[in-house]
Symmetry: C2
């Protein structure tokens, strides 16, 4: 690659003039500017942005910490982050933590060593001590939870879960089961609270047999949890799954057990991933505004980094209940 000295020689001006022509063209005569731009064009010169980063002590990049980039829901939020970042001149570094705190630490180190300017955290809890013991650590929680004190963008998970159960109740269902994520998962805690509130409001006593926890949010865990639901003596007529992957896995087990969906059992998911509408049957679910969550979280983070002042600390966006063929009237 050509360097600034070659540009200055070809243009017949000093390197300082080249630098000014590129950064503050208004300070340079029209004629010098023309010569510099011609030389830049002919030599295909590109300024070394590492010098800018070194001088400004900024990397103009953000880290996304995600438990899994292979999650169809998170990958859509990431697209939103990435679009907003590119619009504001930032790059996005991928931090696929594979649910490991050690890997998460290695990415936080990028901010500490200035290789990234801030973090968008998808894991919905603040348990990381490296972040907790620091002040002014630029961070935004995307898809956060009700108890997040740090800046976050999310939907109201309690209300969204309640909306699913209320919808089941409106169809005449009374025995409504739920497959949660892991017990300590903050999304799982919020959504279970919503499930309980809806049942209480309808004066339905809680049946512990109808509350099952999946090992994680994967389809494979949905298959396992769905088998437990299918084997219950007193079968539920409706099942709320805390994400679409669990719902897809659960429906697979339920159908294999000879239970028809929605004839014998209605099933709903959460997130509205692309596969939801193409499953058999197409899945009733909660649509989260994934792209908007990503864009907003990114803009909030860049505002923090650029010290524009944080106007909103905790943004709650709207969700939609999408009704498809996996749910129907109680049998």
């Amino acid at each position: 690659m050509s360097n600034i000295r070659e540009v200055s020689q070809l243009a017949g001006v000093s390197t300082a003039t080249v630098s000014r022509a590129l950064r503050n063209p208004e300070l340079v005569s029209k004629e010098s500017r023309r010569k510099v731009m011609e030389a830049v064009e002919r030599l295909n010169y590109r300024p070394n942005m590492l010098a800018r980063n070194f001088r400004s002590e900024r990397s103009y990049s953000l880290v996304i910490l995600t438990p899994s980039i292979a999650s169809p829901f998170y990958s859509r939020v990431i697209r939103g982050v990435e679009l907003a970042a590119q619009n504001r001149g930032y790059s996005v570094l991928l931090g696929d933590t594979r649910d490991s705190l050690r890997r998460e630490d290695e990415y936080i180190e990028l901010v500490e060593t200035r290789l990234a300017d801030g973090i968008i955290q998808f894991r919905p809890s603040e348990s990381n001590s490296r972040i907790a013991r620091r002040t002014n650590f630029p961070i935004v929680y995307a898809c956060g939870c009700a108890d997040t004190a740090l800046p976050s963008v999310r939907i109201d998970n309690i209300e969204a879960a309640r909306a699913v159960v209320n919808y089941f109740l409106s169809l005449g269902h009374r025995r409504i089961a739920v497959i949660c994520g892991p017990p300590e998962n903050p999304h799982s805690i919020d959504r279970l609270a919503g499930y309980r509130r809806a049942l209480q409001d309808a004066d339905i006593a809680e049946d512990p047999d109808l509350i099952v926890h999946a090992d994680d949010y994967s389809m494979q865990s949905g298959v396992k949890a769905g088998t437990r639901i299918a084997e219950l003596h007193d079968s539920p007529t409706a099942l709320f799954c805390m994400n679409d992957e669990i719902a897809i896995g659960a429906i697979q087990s339920i159908k294999r057990a000879g239970i028809s969906v929605p004839g014998d059992m209605s099933v709903a998911g959460f997130d509205n991933i692309d596969f939801a509408r193409h499953y058999d049957p197409p899945l009733t679910t909660i649509d989260q505004p994934s792209d908007e969550i990503g864009q907003m979280a990114c803009n909030m983070l860049i505002d923090q980094i650029e010290e524009r002042g944080v106007s909103q600390n905790n943004v709650i966006l709207d969700y939609d209940l999408i009704v498809r063929a996996s749910t129907g009237p109680a049998p």
Copy 2:
């Protein structure tokens, strides 16, 4: 954040000694080293890596150019890239091009301005003129095609497609349809060549009605193309789809038209995404070693960047035909 001067004051040594203790500890006395490390620990000091990058003219980051990060197949390849990168001290910048050459150019600019050291390209063609007119541009094509001259890691798409069609033939199918990607897509060209070769070897004349092109590789396009297949007068008994999303969409249309899968029509996909085994029916497909493709492409790229010499330019990995319930004997 604390700086190197504060560390040197607390340790009672010069800043040069602090710098040496951190970078070349063998050059520093044991006692000085101990003092420095204690001060680093107490002040929670982290070296400014932007200075390293500026001096070495390297960013220690790689760009992944992907048409869509939301693709379940590519996202698994990305996980592989990211794991290998982290192991070798590199970060991964996400370049979600949304199939736009303009956005792709903006990411290539990152390498030209030194903000990234090289590119892993997922789009399987070399049409980008900015890369083509440069020599020594560190790049590796992951999931490339047969005609790639630049370094690439891939499976043999022609042979894999041929294996699917040969499997259909072994089940007694003779009318075998195919849903391709867009006509100009290199994967589509390779896989169609494999389809044709298998039919030729079996002395089956090609029927143009049985070759359908989808608008892209999405489920939605699969739904549309599947409708065309379902409406054919002389119905095929087997259908090969060039990725799993197209297959899932096509099966949805085919089932809606009252055609049973695999009773009336066997359907196979390509890629073996996580959803394939959880679909109804579970999908017969070609398994690509996505994680291995990603890791190998990443290591080849870093070898180029670090000028270790490129041992292999074009790596071809093995695929597997995974037989599931979406395929069966010809009716």
